[in-house]
């Protein structure tokens, strides 16, 4: 019969009310865990992906830094020539101009992402480790190499036709093995047909592969100095940029889940306050028998904390289960685990739940510990 035992007895004495409150906290915590798990999942996938990307530097038009793969093609052939000249002088391994085109809607099932590569360059230069499962690895003139997941999803096989526009069509000449990375969802085609479809001679980005021993930061700054109007970003810079963007989106998502958390907190406060009002005489008896104010205060705060901790733990578990289910779907659809319940997210969720309980318990606890003994005992 320690103090925690007393608290537990009281919660169990009103099982339905305690359970309903627990459910409120559970749902609030689960929704917060889920919201924030998307940020954690994106972060994890992105960094895994970026750490696998071959080229150490991406050159993009100024103002489209970050993850500007899909930016409007603005790098002109003249700028490319200047880059190649500067790259040769710096002794880089390869300089690959590339172009992106997205076809389809919001549904990953019906969308196609094309990446244009110069003649003779295969996807393995940009995505180390990819291998052809069938046919060729390097796209040919009029021939595309298809990522493993796209091929499976759209039932493409060697020789299948691909239409980029009414005028431009290609045939599948190679299918890649699934590697669990971004390349699984891409279709690699020669640059020329993409430029024809987009009506431009420009490129979206130029990817730079370095020789061993070359320092990415130094090469990037030298390229920027050589060709004005372009931004050369190293993988490290992209990661930092992505981290910044993810932090902002974390805050936004936490803001949204805060609504559920506040409702959960008010539920706990309401339950504990009701329980305090019902037990005023009981607290009076405890004080009459010799309990100090601090004892009553602790009793009530612990009740709120216990409700919040139990609800928070169960909410965390529920969030984990739902996150797992979401990942099963997204892994199947786009090959990425979008949601992740990481240890730091779990710890954060439990701390938020505890803080919630503490805040919800303070006012009722203060109230309970300050009632005059004679009033509490009804002896006025």
């Amino acid at each position: 019969m320690e103090i925690l035992h007393l608290v537990l007895r009281n919660l169990l004495a009103r099982p339905v009310r305690s359970l309903l409150t627990l459910l409120g906290v559970l749902i609030a915590t689960a929704s917060m865990v889920l919201f924030l798990s998307f940020g954690e999942g994106l972060r994890r996938s992105l960094f895994q992906e970026l750490s696998r990307v071959g080229p150490a530097i991406q050159v993009v038009p100024e103002g489209t830094e970050g993850l500007g793969f899909g930016g409007y093609p603005e790098i002109t052939p003249r700028q490319l020539a200047a880059l190649q000249e500067a790259g040769q002088a710096l002794g880089v391994r390869a300089l690959v101009p590339t172009l992106f085109l997205a076809r389809g809607g919001f549904d990953p099932q019906t969308s196609f992402f094309f990446q244009g590569l110069p003649p003779g360059v295969g996807p393995d230069l940009l995505y180390p480790g990819v291998r052809a499962r069938e046919g060729r690895l390097v796209p040919t003139e009029g021939g595309a190499v298809v990522g493993g997941k796209v091929a499976k999803r759209s039932q493409l096989s060697l020789g299948s036709p691909l239409r980029l526009s009414p005028q431009v069509g290609l045939k599948v000449v190679g299918i890649l093995e699934e590697s669990g990375g971004l390349a699984d969802n891409l279709i690699f085609v020669p640059l020329a047909p993409l430029q024809q479809v987009l009506g431009t001679e420009n490129y979206s980005a130029v990817l730079v592969a370095l020789n061993p021993g070359q320092k990415a930061e130094e090469v990037a700054r030298a390229l920027e100095a050589a060709v004005p109007g372009l931004k050369a970003q190293t993988t490290g810079e992209v990661m930092r940029f992505a981290e910044r963007a993810l932090r902002i989106s974390d805050l936004v998502r936490f803001g949204i889940s805060l609504v559920a958390l506040i409702v959960g907190g008010l539920l706990v406060a309401n339950t504990v306050m009701m329980s305090v009002y019902e037990r005023i005489r009981e607290f009076g008896v405890m004080r009459a028998l010799g309990a100090r104010r601090g004892f009553i205060f602790r009793l009530v705060v612990l009740e709120a904390l216990l409700l919040a901790l139990l609800g928070g733990t169960l909410g965390l578990a529920l969030g984990g289960v739902v996150s797992f289910a979401i990942n099963l779907y997204t892994l199947d659809q786009v090959g990425l685990a979008l949601s992740a319940v990481t240890p730091r997210l779990s710890l954060f969720a439990l701390l938020v739940a505890l803080l919630l309980g503490l805040l919800a318990g303070l006012l009722p606890a203060y109230h309970a510990s300050r009632i005059p003994v004679v009033e509490a005992l009804g002896r006025v």
């Binding site: 019969m1 320690e2 007393l6 007895r9 009281n10 169990l12 004495a13 005489r281 009981e282 008896v285 405890m286 004080r287 009459a288 028998l289 010799g290 309990a291 100090r292 104010r293 601090g294 004892f295 005059p372 003994v373 004679v374 005992l377 002896r379």
Partner: protein, 226 residues
């Protein structure tokens, strides 16, 4: 020894001032002292002040020379825990705790280890004839049984002062007799202050104080029966 000196309590009721107790002075000796009087005579107010539940408007309460009325709330609680036991009319057991846990509650407040709490609570409940009710919740006990649990709880820390406020008010004849016998037995070796309407019960005390209109009207020394 518990001593009240010129004890007065005044309340404000709107514009009116109500005098609940006026100039009460008495030194309670060892043994049972009954406090009787009609409703509104100041019995409950007197008990509230003696126990330190409330503070007097004038005068003071001294327990072995310690000025109880000058202590802060938490200190008064500490004094109650160590030196006073209480039996109320409505039993006032903690509803979520079993009989033995209720008896052990003051021992928990005093920081006694679990084993000691349990042993002592079991022994006290046996002493009041409830060895077969140790693990029952108050809701499963009769009024008389609840009052006996309350008495066992009041004796848990063996306090020198025992307060009983209408302890038999809600009980049937048989339970009343059982509780009264246990109460006066416990009162032999300590200061028992018994507030009651029941003159028959009061007559079993060694002294009776008659309150009227908030004043001590008279003191009667009774020859205890038997």
């Amino acid at each position: 020894m518990l001593r009240a000196e010129n004890l007065s309590k005044r309340y404000r009721q709107g514009e009116k001032e109500v005098v609940a107790l006026l100039g009460f002075t008495y030194a309670f000796p060892r043994g049972a002292t009954a406090v009787v009087g009609p409703s509104g005579s100041g019995k409950t107010t007197l008990l509230n002040l003696l126990a330190g539940f409330d503070l007097p408007s004038e005068g003071g309460v001294y327990l072995d020379g310690l000025a109880l009325h000058q202590l802060p709330e938490d200190e008064r609680a500490r004094v109650r825990l160590k030196h006073m036991g209480f039996v109320f009319q409505q039993w006032n057991l903690i509803p979520t705790l079993t009989a033995w846990e209720n008896v052990a509650f003051p021992l928990l407040l005093a920081g006694r280890p679990r084993k000691e709490r349990q042993e002592q609570a079991f022994a006290l409940l046996e002493r009041v004839g409830l060895a077969h009710r140790l693990h029952h919740l108050p809701s499963r006990l009769s009024g008389g049984e609840q009052q006996r649990v309350a008495l066992a709880r009041a004796l848990a820390l063996d306090p020198p002062v025992l307060f009983a406020d209408e302890p038999t008010g809600n009980l049937d004849a048989e339970s009343r007799e059982q509780v009264a016998a246990l109460l006066f037995e416990a009162g032999k070796e300590r200061t028992l202050i018994l507030v009651t309407h029941d003159l028959e019960l009061a007559a079993r005390a060694e002294r009776i104080l008659y309150l009227k209109g908030g004043r001590l009207a008279r003191e009667e020394v009774v020859q205890p029966a038997g």
